[in-house]
């Protein structure tokens, strides 16, 4: 049976409750309610055996080492294992990561989801007790909800459709590289066009629901709220957590023939709520043993 993990927004004790109760925005709540219903249907009574904590997308939302350790304590007190999530780390922010990893390396077993190859090298060199996990930004695949859901109809079966449904974990040489670097697991988003739901030999797969990631970067729309300079859209060097005050929801124009899937902008990252059909496909794939862990996000990224 698939294992459940809960992606915690904050290092706090979690009583059993619905995912939707974590939501802070209306559209976020609706997506979490759909997921709650799906969990109740497919995995009634199931409990999370692992907590995820951290941030996969923004170095400015990294927790402090103390918060990371506190989150692990919460997990341990709940009888759960612990996974820490790191974002892509650019040169200017890279120094913030090692103190967190050092704090985590001093405790028990801990997975670290990495989203850039520099973080993996740091883990291997300085923190060999931490288990590296390939993050979903590095397990690349087409995730463009404007158009890729249409590929299932528009692209005939064969090599082209298989290529469009592929993710990076479908590369045997990449898997060998991961193995050589001690990577023990791969994270995945279900792809809107199908795919992203099958583990590979030697690499168990975690599937994250209900928010797929479309794109991210260092230029943060929300951070630009802090001043009026025309040239304010630049790699963020200061952050006032402006992303935490609101959510921007984009809806594709129907006339353009795009799939009716909204986009959620949260700071530097754009997400899409997995459609009900994809959620169902993920739970069915879990039930048939295609992958071994479901990561349930308790909302869009929050500041701890």
């Amino acid at each position: 049976m698939v294992a459940l993990a809960l992606y915690l927004p904050r290092p706090e004790k979690v009583e059993p409750r619905s995912l939707a109760s974590f939501a802070r925005h209306e559209s976020e709540r609706r997506a979490l309610e759909r997921l709650d219903a799906m969990v109740a249907e497919f995995l009634p009574g199931a409990k999370a055996g692992r907590f995820y904590f951290g941030n996969e997308f923004c170095a400015h939302l990294l927790p402090t080492p103390e918060q990371a350790v506190a989150a692990r304590v919460v997990a341990e007190e709940a009888g759960c294992a612990f996974t820490f999530c790191a974002p892509p780390m650019a040169e200017g922010e890279f120094g913030r990561l090692a103190p967190i990893l050092r704090a985590l390396a001093g405790g028990g077993a801990c997975e670290v989801v990495f989203q850039d190859w520099g973080t993996l090298r740091l883990l291997r060199r300085e923190f060999p007790s931490l288990l590296p996990v390939l993050g979903r930004l590095l397990n690349k695949g087409l995730r463009d909800p404007r158009v890729t859901p249409r590929y299932a109809e528009a692209v005939p079966p064969g090599e082209a459709r298989a290529a469009l449904r592929a993710d990076a974990a479908g590369s045997t040489p990449l898997l060998a590289l991961l193995q050589a670097n001690g990577v023990g697991r791969i994270e995945s988003d279900p792809l809107p066009q199908g795919g992203g739901l099958r583990g590979r030999p030697g690499f168990p797969l975690s599937v994250t629901l209900p928010f797929g990631v479309v794109t991210t970067g260092r230029i943060c729309l929300a951070a630009a709220l802090r001043d009026d300079r025309k040239d304010r859209f630049e790699p963020v060097s200061r952050c006032g957590r402006e992303c935490q005050s609101h959510l921007t929801v984009f809806e594709a124009p129907a006339a353009a023939g795009f799939a009716p899937i909204p986009l959620f902008e949260k700071g530097n990252t754009y997400f899409f709520p997995q459609p009900e059909g994809t959620l169902r496909a993920a739970f069915e794939a879990a039930a048939s043993g295609e992958f071994d862990r479901l990561v349930l996000q308790a909302g869009l990224p929050q500041w701890a």
Binding site: G118, R121, D144, V147, A163, S171, H246
Partner: protein
């Protein structure tokens, strides 16, 4: 010799013009018809559209490489799709052999699995790491140096101080290439999972045509908050439009607009950067020509050792549109409000 100008090219007929403009190196893609027949136009072999951004036959590629080599210039071939799963990887390896046999001087690759496969297959062509990897830190550059890459193309959204730090910490291990002119990205290209297929266009610029609303966090947003968010979003759309460089316009001096790092050239020289990328394989030939010529004009002054303040002034004035330059709207390497790095 550092600070080589790396120019985009998509047809052998552009070669003479770009050599005259001052290109030191060339990069291109080549997507033969067989790829399209097998995978359709929806599966991109590299980061540009199969039609319009690439050479279309291996014969043209050989002509281009022969011509460039006759002029003493290398040609690098892009195989920089974000990923190649096993099904496409076999075809990519066949193409890599064809590129090698045509005389390619390096392959530009983003997928670490493809780098491993090229080495395992014994395809002995130097590898340049694409900005799509992306190598955001000295530690990441070292990871790829460990894999044997010869050059790392740093991603667009690094600040100057970060580039200098990476160069300092990886000196002697790999060559470094940075973006100099044209075509920005709203997000980090290497962590963007969207398609740029012509049927839908880039998401960043397309968002201006989407409906939108703002939702507060646990409370309704005030009218003033919504107005502020609207202004911010409107400015962001203008910023994204500038990233495209307004290809239908030229500056008062008859030069193209677009993201520009010309006034950072002295900083790149100090950092020991090896190569400077001019973006735009799919651009009109005249835009490539003008971009290379403009970069060469400033670069030659850097090489002559002119004083930095004069160089920066020349770079900022070259388009004859100082107000646009001073506004920072096209500036690819702003110091940022905090400057420096951790």
């Amino acid at each position: 010799m550092g600070l080589k100008l790396t120019a985009p090219i998509r047809h052998p007929e552009e070669l003479e013009m770009l050599l005259a403009a001052g290109a030191d190196e060339f990069y291109c893609g080549a997507v033969p018809r067989e790829w399209l027949e097998r995978f359709t136009g929806a599966v991109w072999l590299n980061r540009r559209s199969p039609i319009g951004g690439n050479l279309e036959t291996l014969g043209d590629l050989r002509r281009l490489i022969d011509g460039a080599h006759a002029a003493g210039r290398p040609v690098f071939l892009t195989l920089n799709a974000p990923l190649y799963a096993d099904g496409t990887l076999r075809a990519v390896l066949e193409l890599a052999r064809a590129y090698r046999d045509a005389g390619a001087d390096a392959l530009i690759v983003a997928d670490p699995g493809a780098i491993v496969a090229l080495r395992e297959e014994g395809i002995a062509v130097p590898i340049h790491l694409s900005s799509l990897a992306p190598a955001l830190s000295a530690e990441a550059v070292a990871f790829f140096a460990d894999l044997g890459v010869a050059r790392v193309i740093l991603p667009r959204h690094l600040r100057l101080a970060e580039i200098a730090s990476i160069a300092e910490r990886t000196r002697g291990r790999v060559e470094l290439e940075v973006f100099l002119l044209n075509d920005g990205c709203a997000w980090e290209e290497g962590t963007c999972m969207t398609t740029h297929h012509h049927a839908v266009g880039a998401l960043c610029s397309g968002l201006a045509g989407f409906g939108h609303r703002f939702e507060g966090a646990g409370r309704a947003l005030s009218e003033a908050e919504v107005a502020s968010l609207e202004r911010n979003l409107s400015d962001w759309h203008a910023f994204v439009a500038d990233l495209g460089g307004h290809p239908d316009r030229l500056s008062p001096a008859g030069l193209p607009y677009g993201p520009c790092g010309l006034c950072a050239l002295p900083a790149f020289a100090r950092a020991g950067i090896d190569a400077l990328k001019i973006v735009g394989r799919e651009h009109a030939p005249i835009r490539k020509f003008l971009s290379v010529k403009m970069a060469r004009a400033i670069l030659d002054r850097v090489r002559r050792g002119e004083e930095e303040a004069a160089l920066v002034e020349a770079a900022k004035s070259i388009r004859g549109d100082r107000p646009s330059c001073d506004s920072g709207r096209f500036c690819a390497y702003r110091p940022g409000p905090a400057g420096g790095i951790d």
